[in-house]
Amino acid sequence: MVITDDRLDPPATQELLARARAGDAHGFCLLIEPLQARLLRQAAALTGDLNLAEDIVSETLVEAWKSFPRYNESCQLSTWLYAILLHRYQKSMRRARSRPVALALLSLFEARDLCQKQENIAAPGPSPAEAAARREAFAQLRQCIELLPEKHARVILLRFFEDASLPDMAAVLGCSIGTVKSRLHHALEKLRKMKMNLPDGKRDIPI
């Protein structure tokens, strides 16, 4: 299920945008309320840790509020928020890498724990084994994305985790649409090669 600001009521959104621009914190909170759940899921998918995800979402919303006058509607509000979320996440990862205990690794282990916890939740659709295989595939891809250069990882995350369009990605990343296409191609090519180098048993990711 994709929740973007398309789902917001346009007249109400315009009014809330105007209120938020005028410095009304309540208006800003109302504006981002429908996007909070997805933002939290996106942060959880990035970090693999719900507590860390909440912290990052909180930091993201504060930063978004502080820099809201700079939002010029060149892209969707959800994409703009996700770009800030990515920035905060990458900053926290850099901080974690400089520490003696790698929080990056910790978050990956916790992501696996989260996946195992999710296995216990009965969900309609695929069998538990199939669902577990999909989650494993997703966890593997998340690890591969961590290994990509930052500019390639950003394009992948914006496209698949935020469902951003080419113009939105170009606006958020501050580059041309051609550059976004090229980065997406290189990122997917690298992920494909990484997947090909996985052991045979882990290569067949169910679609």
């Binding site: 410095g23 909070q36 759940a37 899921r41 998918a45 992948i156 296409k181 997406l184």
Partner: protein
């Protein structure tokens, strides 16, 4: 050159866009026609699709995550406590240069690598210009022709100096010092 000649390789970017759901309609039809007839591209597309499909369905794994009332309140409270938003700064012309330096040049590895390469080139050119002639003189031994021409020049110089000496002797400077007694006389006369 191979990339230019091989149309399948040129289609790879479009295949990646197709797998990501970003290819516009006319290009999509063209690529799908190509895919129907090209086994190599189909195989590549399947491999890319195997990467994009799990990513596209990421939200299913996190569908049960919903912010509770406590989380929602905490997020709202934190935002409200953050104070007023910062107004958009209008930069002075001088500050634009500083910002450009801080945001574009300072973090860019390529620019620093380019500057380092330019500096190395200048250094190498400078070093070659200065050390070249000295090393050439030091290494080359004087030939017999050089020695003979040098001696001829020496002779010409000696002749020129001799002529000057003759001129000097031909017109000596008149010098007639007066005796002390006469000087005294001059002083007393004054």
């Amino acid at each position: 050159m191979n990339w230019f000649l091989n149309s399948c390789r040129r289609n790879r970017e479009s295949l990646c866009l197709l797998a990501s759901g970003l290819l516009p309609e006319p290009d999509r039809i063209r690529i799908e026609k190509h895919l129907a007839g090209c086994a190599a591209c189909r195989s590549y597309y399947d491999e890319i699709k195997a990467v994009t499909a799990p990513l596209a369905g990421w939200e299913k794994h996190f569908a049960q995550i919903e912010p509770g009332a406590a989380v929602h309140t905490r997020l709202t409270k934190t935002t409200r406590l953050a104070g007023r938003p910062e107004p958009v700064r209008r930069l002075a012309p001088g500050m634009i240069l500083v910002e450009c330096w801080r945001q574009l040049i300072l973090p860019s590895r390529r620019i620093w690598a380019g500057l380092a390469a330019v500096w190395m080139l200048l250094f190498a050119a400078n070093a070659s210009l200065h050390s070249g002639p000295q090393t050439a003189v030091a290494k080359s031994a004087p030939t017999s022709e050089m020695i003979s021409s040098f001696r001829q020049q020496e002779k010409i110089l000696a002749e020129l100096i001799g002529q000057n000496e003759l001129r000097a002797t031909a017109a000596p400077k008149p010098f007639s010092p007066q005796p002390r007694s006469q000087r005294r006389f001059e002083i007393s006369a004054v």
